[in-house]
């Protein structure tokens, strides 16, 4: 094979490899949001549908407020994360479990849920 052909072949292979590994560009968030949704809907983890109406959830509870317009309600994402971590700080009699303080979810699970919920 001529050198130029070899180089083109290599270039093609490399390009194919890149597109097949599907490295997202601005979608690192999307991956986290998808993970957050999975954890939220998991009965053994966030189990959020027990109390909250969330788009895409069925047979949702109504003990807590529906999770909509979250960016408007929480312009500061950190405040949302703090509520998920330990709602009793802001509302001592809340029914919401202290997901972070009591270790119901790991810190990275809470990160993912925060991304997901904030996107609602």
């Amino acid at each position: 094979m001529k050198l130029q052909d070899k180089l083109s072949a290599v270039a093609l292979v490399v390009m194919a490899a890149i597109s097949s590994t599907n490295v997202p560009m601005a979608s690192a968030d999307e991956g986290l949001i998808a993970k957050g949704k999975e954890i939220s809907f998991d009965r053994k983890k966030g189990n959020c549908l027990t109390c909250h109406q969330i788009a895409g959830g069925t047979l949702t509870g109504n003990i807590g407020p529906p999770l909509i317009a979250m960016k408007a309600r929480f312009p500061d994402k950190a405040k949302l994360r703090a509520d998920i971590w330990d709602m009793t700080k802001r509302s001592p009699h809340t029914m919401m479990p202290p997901f972070g303080k009591y270790g119901v979810l790991t810190e990275s699970e809470i990160d993912a849920i925060t991304e997901f919920v904030h996107s609602l």
Binding site: L49, C51, T60, G61, N62, I63, M95, P97, Y102, V104
Partner: protein, 284 residues
């Protein structure tokens, strides 16, 4: 002037030494009645005992059809057979509970002045067996539930009146311990009985309508759809449900008929004072 100072001092002292909640059983019941009446002005007192079925038309239809053809007729028959079967030593259940089976259920829970403890019906069933050298039933399901259900059924229509002798500080302490248990958050999920059954009663946890505490014990033992689905036999005692609820909030459950659950029952049953026994019943 002197009188004023003394009064202020007395007030100060009593504030320092009295418990956080010095309300009596009567006051607690009245407060709860008022609370629920305000929440649901359209639900008549007695109907509240039907829990979710008083609050949701959809669920009521299913429940009423269950009551037309109850799934627990066979187990009730077993309960009756148990009452009529003497022990190996020739004694009968009447030797522990008296001749009239309709006068058993409503005597419990009550305060045992001599032994300073709360007596529960199922606890006494087991006690009776042990006293007669019989192998005791398992504490939460199976025969003890059938027998307790039949005894409760015999007492249908009677008015619940759990007595907490106010002049007996140990009885009052047991009642207050039960109340504290009911209102305290517990488990990794940090939930109290009151969270679901007082403050959020009437709302939905997933597809389940949360029932109010008032009326709870009127219909135990209960035939629970969920228990029937997993094991065929849906009957369970009150303490079985206590254990299940505690596990659901990720707290380690306590022993059936131990001190914690007996004190809890003392408070819990009190909250249905004035309502009538209507047992057993179906719950989802």
């Amino acid at each position: 002037m002197k009188k004023m100072i003394l009064m202020v001092l007395a007030a100060g002292l009593s504030l320092g030494t009295s418990p956080a909640f010095a309300t009596t059983q009567a006051e607690d019941i009245a407060a709860l009645k008022a609370y629920f009446a305000k929440k649901w002005p359209d639900v008549k007192g007695e109907d509240m005992a039907n829990g979710a079925y008083a609050l949701s038309e959809d669920k009521r239809i299913n429940w009423e059809s269950m009551r037309d053809f109850p799934p627990f007729e066979d187990q009730l028959a077993i309960g009756e057979e148990i009452w009529n079967t003497p022990f190996k030593n020739g004694n009968t259940w009447a030797s522990c509970f008296g001749d009239d089976p309709s006068r058993v259920r409503n005597r419990f829970p009550h305060w045992n002045v001599r032994d300073k403890k709360v007596e529960t019906l199922e606890g006494n069933i087991i006690q009776c067996q042990k006293a007669n050298d019989e192998k005791p039933f398992k504490t939460k399901k199976g025969k003890i539930a059938y027998f307790s259900a039949w005894l409760a059924n015999q007492a249908n229509g009677q008015t619940i009146n759990v007595v907490v002798p106010q002049d007996d500080p140990d009885a009052v302490a047991a009642y207050e311990a039960g109340r504290q248990f009911f209102y305290a958050k517990r488990g990794q999920l940090n939930l109290s009985c009151a969270d679901c059954h007082v403050y959020q009663a009437g709302l939905f946890a997933r597809g389940n309508l949360l029932s109010p505490v008032r009326g709870h014990t009127t219909h135990f033992p209960v035939w629970r759809g969920k228990w029937a689905r997993s094991g065929g036999d849906g009957f369970g005692t009150l303490h079985r449900r206590y254990g299940g609820c505690n596990k659901q909030v990720r707290a380690k459950p306590f022993k059936a008929h131990g001190k914690e659950y007996s004190n809890l029952e003392y408070f819990h049953a009190s909250m249905s004072n004035g309502m009538t026994i209507n047992a057993p019943d179906y719950r989802e």
